[in-house]
Amino acid sequence: MSVWKVMPSEQYVKDQTWYAKKHPRELEAVANNLGRYHAQLNRAKNALCVQAGYIHPEGKGVVALDQKGGGTSLQETRLYVYADDSTKVLHIITIGNKNTQDSDIKLAQAYTESVRTPR
């Protein structure tokens, strides 16, 4: 069993502050699913093995975690992460909603390209 480290990005830290003020329940919900995802990574052979209803692959290794399980009447929210199997670092990239989905995915993919360990 590997122990994965969690590393936030600079954008995520800003997003987190914003969501804590404006959408605290959504932040709680995605953070709870992030905890689930982290626990599953710690048990899995590799990141690809971790699949569940709240996990959405977005290409180039980016995975979006949604707010499901956090309660009712929550805004659709996505937390974008990248699990780097070679370094066992779970990168927390950004949080967004439906309106920012396209730009969030582009940002997350560009981030992933920049931190990905060459094979």
Partner: protein
């Protein structure tokens, strides 16, 4: 102020700060305490469903494969694993245990304090070792193996005690002796046992 006023950069980079858990990250990145409490509350309400999902992943099974083995749909497994503990049934837990060949133990109530825990485990160890001693009476080979195991256990327990003693403020002043002597009744069955141990810091 709506969400459009929240600025997003076209690119970003890692902070370089790493954490061992999500809880640690939230605290380290100065998330308000009420949010951390909210996440912990959600976490507590989903402790068992998370454990079941983690066990499935450990076994290398997808939700679809798990569903097939449990005669349920993938979406039923997804719902169960992302749901709250109160929605779980004993049958769900039993089925996961059976399919994954995992021993699943559920505990409720306040956690034991350190002393209670040590006493509980010590009593459990004694019970198990007494059972082994009984098994050892069956034949000579078993007796040798159990005796060897007892020796190993004895050494390990002393090592644990010595290691813990090293953490104490008075670590240099500690010395203890163990003297075990079987009772006259037991002496008929087993040779007398005497052991002495001294911890020197």
């Amino acid at each position: 102020m709506d969400d459009s006023q929240h600025s997003k950069s076209p690119q970003t980079k890692p902070t370089g700060r790493t954490y061992g858990s999500v809880d640690e990250m939230l605290r380290g990145e100065k998330v308000p305490a009420e949010i951390v409490t909210g996440v912990r509350k959600l976490n507590n309400e989903t402790r068992f469903t998370r454990m079941l999902a983690a066990l499935r992943v450990k076994a290398g099974l997808t939700q679809t494969q798990m569903g097939e083995k449990m005669d349920r749909t993938q979406s039923a497994i997804s719902k169960l694993e992302s749901g709250r503990d109160e929605e779980l049934t004993l049958a769900d837990i039993r089925d996961y245990s059976k399919v994954l060949n995992e021993r699943i133990v559920l505990g409720f109530g306040p956690p034991m304090n350190h002393v209670e825990a040590i006493k509980t485990y010590a009593l459990a160890m004694r019970e198990r070792m007494m059972a082994l001693a009984k098994i050892a009476q069956q034949d000579g080979q078993l007796e040798k193996e159990v005796q060897a195991f007892f020796g190993e256990a004895f050494f390990n327990i002393l090592t644990i005690l010595a290691t813990c003693q090293q953490q104490m403020p008075n670590k240099n002043e500690f010395e203890f002796k163990i003297e075990l002597q079987s009772s006259p009744a037991l002496a008929k069955q087993t040779p007398s046992v005497e052991a002495k141990a001294t911890l020197v810091a």
